[in-house]
Amino acid sequence: MSKLLTPELLRYLEQFQLLAARRAKSSSKGERRSRARGQSVEFADHRSYVPGDDFRYLDWNLFGRLDRLFLKLYEEERELPVRIFLDASESMTFGEPRKFDFARQVAAAIGYVALCGFDRVSVIPFPNAEARIGGKGEISNIQHPTSNAQQSAIEGALRSVRGKKSSMQFFANLNALAGGGGADLNEALRRGALEARHTGLAIVLSDFLDPAGYEAGLTALVGRGFQVNCVQILAPEELAPSTFGDLRLVDSESGGLQEVTFGRYRMKAYQQTVQNFVQRLREYCTRRGMNFFMAPSNMDLQDLLLKQLRKAEVWG
């Protein structure tokens, strides 16, 4: 089975189904209700018969009562495209446990639920392999010493996954993903929003620690019509640092230096800063109808998946 999720957790997840607030707009058939009329068992409406219609859909009962021909219309069931934006930047490789590992677990769980529901899953890691080559960040994931070409192939495979059968391959690919390099959250989200042919569910798994901010990207997703869920993953070390004294801090992504003098007495001020940051993001999301979850990377995964996401009616 997958290293990402335990079989037990998978069994739980199988019971869930992603809840979409809006009708699916995908063109592919699936199990989601859509505005399109087509073939399914869900009755939608009647319309008058016009010559050339398929007799099989005539409502003979009505004809018997009214002596007029009506055609029964059914809802077409379509798939729900689920796009998972996975922050694979250098900053996600920090923390104990690593934030990136936690993000992959969440991605795997959401992806599995979607696959079980015959929805299309796209995992979009950013920065992608090409961006890393161009950028100055190198792949720092020593657990998976895969080449950039392989990474590109994996990323390609994750672009579009469908069907429960594919879940094992999906997990394997997620597992093989490597983190590293500098990311531009806004750019990644905007591009993801533009690329999507059909809107659906968007999950953003990131620490949102981007100097350029996150507002533009999230706005782009919402504007495109996505139903957005943000999961902010922070390392315990980031929530409560344990190094004190006169420090020269090196930013893992930008390489920028910053000198601070940090004492225990300033811990409260620091934690307040973090809380403010989280709160600002939370308010931003709530105001735009996005779901927001804050998850320390050492958090119990089941708590997030089985309780918080369910409570927020991401799935049910």
């Binding site: 620690l209 004190f244 801090l249 090196v250 992504e253 000198e259 003098t261 007495y265 001020a269 973090v274």
Partner: protein
Amino acid sequence: MSFLAPLAFAFAASIPVVIVFYLLKRKRVVKLVSSTLLWQKFLADTQASAPFQKLRKNWLLYLQLLLLALAVLALTRPYFATEAKPAQLRVVILDGSASMQATDESPARFEKARAEALKWVDSLEPTDQMIVLLAGANTEVKQSATSEKAALRRVLQSAAPADSPTRLVPALKMAESLVRDRRSAEIHLFSDGAISELSEFELKALPLIFHKVGQRADNLGITALDVRANPEDATQRAIYANVVNVASNTLSTDLELYFQGLGGESRQLLETRPLTVPGQQTAPQVFRVSQAKDGVFTVRLTGKDDLAADNEAAIVSLLPKPVNVLLVTRGNRLLEKALRAVANVNLAVANDLTDAGAGFDFVVLDGVTPTDWPSGNVLAFRVVNPNWMESVSSVDGPVIVDWKSTHPLLRYAGFDNVQIVQSLTPARGTPPWAISILEAPQAPLILAGELGRQRLVWVGFDPLESNWPLRVSFPIFIANAVDWLNPASAKSAQLLVKAGDPFRLALAEPVKSAEVKLPDGKSTTLNFEGANELVFGDTAKQGVYHLRAGTNEVTFCANLLDANESDIRPRDELKFGEYTRVEATTVQRTNMELWRTLAAIGLVVLLFEWWWYHRRTV
């Protein structure tokens, strides 16, 4: 504000050093973090990468500069010249008497007074001068006028209290003469106020400031000691001791009596008597012991009290010897009988005196002008000697109005109902050598005193021309006179001196040197230029002294025996003369120099800086 040590401003050169330290960059620990985004608020004060950096606002720097400035300022010893006062003279009188040894102040009153005086030395301004007097039995000028604080401190540190009573009047007179011409002068008296005879001193406008020391009076003291033949049993000696309790509560102790023979044998305990003295009462005590040889009686209070100096007193007791008395009279049976009644008297009677009374201890002249005036002690009734007084006049029926019952001659002798027909009196009042012990309104009737080394008792009237011989006071007076005029008793009285008073010894032949063994066992040698009288003044410590000069060997005792000194109750005011009172000052002189304050503030700043530094890093 002025500076005592302006050279210390050179230390200000260290201020740039501190600033240079702040220009240098702090070495930091490099740490890789996921993102510096969350740390924006915690930017350090410096962000340059060169070894030197721009000076930034840093509270630590300010604190250290402040600390340094305070330290430098303290080193320069600034002070405030409060007013443009003329140079002051301060005369410090330290009470160095026995009562200042009281331990109710810690460690002793004298130490407290010394510490107070040292504070005044500290507060001395550069132009001011100070004189230090130590007032014990004698006034000692410890330091003449000087502005040098080190010398003043040294003198004060070396001063020590004696076992002697205070004689403040000479000290005050000396201080008065010192400050007489000074416009700005103060006399500071550091004392507990246990001072006698101040009522005889008129303070006038002396600028006296009284600094009181002492807190309580928890003291039992021996204030009197005497040894006599036991009147009830001639073979015994009676030792009279007076114990006073100056505390307000009852105190209990043991009174011990010791005897030590003059031969150099060890001290024996003769008697121990438990004693309970109610508050502010005296307890006269009499010991009756038999004495086989000459020796020293010592009484000692064993209890522990605030003042140890008055817990022990010693007296030399010599065995009585027969007194040889010559009565020169034309027949006075009453007088003769009274003289014979006195114990231990060998009386000879004669009509005239031709050989100056050689071989007799003293001579009684009863209305007879002798051919040869006696060279020894004399008891004279109605005798005119121009050496004694220039002229006499006669008074008829003088009325006795007063007599000095405290004089040893009139002990137990009153003059109630004594009438006198006629009496001679000195025409020009009491002669300087004598004091009047019996007085009529016109003139003195009985004089007593010492003329040269001759003791004289002069009675102006014939007892037979009065009813005095019929009164009980007459034989008592005669007995007292025998005692007082006996050279041996006079000598034994000389053997008891007050601590601090000089011991005098008349010598038959001149000596060159004398050796004195002090109470603490040490010996000192005195050198003389062949004097007839030996004077030993170093009796500040009480106890038994042994003096050896040529063939003379004398033991004498120095004792405090002073009720005023034993009364160690601290006084809040001193009474001078009849009307003047000086209250104890409450002014505590503090140091006018500021460096201590500055150093203290500096310390506070240092502590604050330390706290501040640790607060930001730990």
